[in-house]
Amino acid sequence: MKIRFFPPPRALARRFMIKERPLKALIVLGLAGLLSALALLLVPLLYNSADFLLSRGAELLSSMDWSPYRGRFGGLQFVLGTLWVTFWATLFATPLAVSLAVFAAELAPVKLKGFFGGLVDLIAAVPSVVYGYWGLMIFGPLLAQNLYPHLQSLAALPVIGTLFATSAVSPQCFLTAILVLSLMVTPYASAIIRNSYEMIPRDLVEAVYALGGTRWDVIKMNLGYIKSSIIAGVVIAAGRAMGETMAVTMLIGNSVAPFEPCLLCRGATITSLVANEFEEAMMNPLHVKALTALIVILIVMGSVLLALGRKVGRSLAGVETVA
């Protein structure tokens, strides 16, 4: 009688796993689910904006003259507005996110840690449109009465003066949108930073304390240790800020005038323009295609941002493992 040994694992796998039809079906179904979502998002956008992008894409990205009724589709100010809002919102959100992460992971009393984490998550759970309405009714008017007149008087200063140069103070302007936005995108960055903050090896922290370091030394060391996650979180927050629609539309003032690097001016972003004009644009085929083309440009901008963020994060991570 011949003794048969167990087949090697790979043969086992071939025998049991791949023959199992439902499992293959499961993988195919899983792929189909997300790929169909991706296709449903991208195909109609590309299909319906391709001819516009090819024929008038140059105009869309070079001119700042937007008057759809006269057939002029210069959308550069919306691209710049999007970048402007994203830049400032990210700038304000970064210290917020790092502080909240350090606070929830390190400083909060042990029993309240979960509670504070939950509160931070709650910031992300409030709908964008509710932030917009709050900014419109309460926050914006408050700023316009108490803060913006003082900022406006800074317009005489040489370099930063242009940021505050405006003829009329309005509760709806870039700065209102930026401030509300920076609060809204904070939890996305904070969650990522906090997650890796909590995974820092305990030995390192104890080593710092053993060397006579203070709590602040520990925090400094930890933040240096997780640099790549901080970058990753900031990029995620920037991506959210770039695509945020409702709050921005309600707070930015929706002006299609050429872009100026100014914080107290009214303006528009790609998303706010689309939310604001799409419904009336449905009557004018060219107009609606121009808006669709702008959405495609927004997706490209977001992808570039994410790719850059991943690259920077990875190179920093490489430095960390070497050090």
């Binding site: 499992l23 189909a32 502080s99 409030v126 709908p127 309460i138 203070t214």
Partner: protein
């Protein structure tokens, strides 16, 4: 003074002011929205949305079309998003080591980042233009595009938490892999999956951008998925810009209903489920 006390103080100040801002937002919804809800009481949940100007007698004040619309659109979105997202999530968790699994995970975490208004414009072209009109169905499809990656990521997270030993035990008994995934560890993953699904619904219920040009608008109550419908989030946006006090009040009431009666309960239930799961 010890080094860094100042910096730690700054961290405290920034964190607490961010949380104060959150409480300010929630508080102003409560202060402005709750009185309106109490003033109109059950009427608010039964009547149609009032027209802009009233020439004939007392206006009937209500939000019923928007409340029903939000529930219907979110429900349709959930019916589309859950099966697709769930299966993708299982594949992400179970085959994360393979090429396709990693690809799916990257895809899901990229789709989460896509601006939600994109879904609105895309579905406008695929459904609204061919059907020649807004519909709750189009709104649901747009919202499902937003929800699918969330369902997938939450499902994957809950499947990953199951100890490998349990799965291996099932496989060692000669059970099929799918039997192990969907029957043996069902009790272990169910709370996590349900909680993730509730979080996805809470995310979807508050979205307005995908619904603006898909679900459209309607003053009247309708249960027909092929006709346009109002939703709470779109109502907040539309009425928020008006100059009529009644409409502004209704926007506050809609914010209150959306945040305190739909989203917060969903989040609380979802948290409780996971907590019980852990213990």
């Amino acid at each position: 003074m010890r080094r860094g006390v100042l910096w730690i103080g700054i961290i405290y100040a920034i964190s607490l002011s961010a949380l104060a801002a959150l409480l300010w937002v929630l508080g102003s919804i409560l202060v402005n929205g709750l009185p309106v809800v109490l003033k109109y009481g059950a009427e608010l949940f039964l009547n149609d949305i009032p027209p802009p100007l009233f020439f004939f007698g007392e206006p009937q004040v209500g939000l019923a079309p928007a409340i029903v619309g939000t529930l219907m659109v979110t429900g349709i979105a959930f019916l589309i998003a859950f099966p697709l997202g769930f299966v993708s999530g299982v594949v992400i968790a179970e085959f994360g080591h393979t090429r396709w699994g990693r690809f799916l995970e990257d895809l899901a975490s990229t789709l989460v980042e896509v601006p939600t208004i994109t879904a609105g414009v895309a579905v406008y072209w695929t459904l609204v233009v061919p059907m020649k009109g807004f519909s709750a169905l189009a709104g649901g499809l747009a919202l499902s595009l937003v929800m699918i990656p969330y369902v997938a990521l939450y499902t994957a997270e809950s499947y990953r938490k199951v100890p490998k030993v349990i799965k291996e035990g099932g496989l060692a008994l000669g059970l099929k892999y799918t039997t192990v995934l969907f029957k043996v560890i069902r009790g272990l993953v169910l709370p996590g999956v349900v909680s993730g699904a509730l979080m996805a619904v809470a995310k979807g219920a508050g979205e307005a951008a995908p619904l603006l040009f898909t679900a459209g608008w309607s003053d009247r109550l309708s249960l027909d998925p092929f006709s346009p419908t109002a939703t709470l989030s779109v109502l907040i946006y539309k009425f928020g810009f008006s100059s009529q006090d009644l409409w502004l009040e209704l926007s506050w009431a809609a914010s209150f209903i959306l945040v305190f009666m739909i989203i917060l309960p969903l989040i609380v239930i979802s948290r409780l489920l996971v907590k019980r799961h852990v213990v």
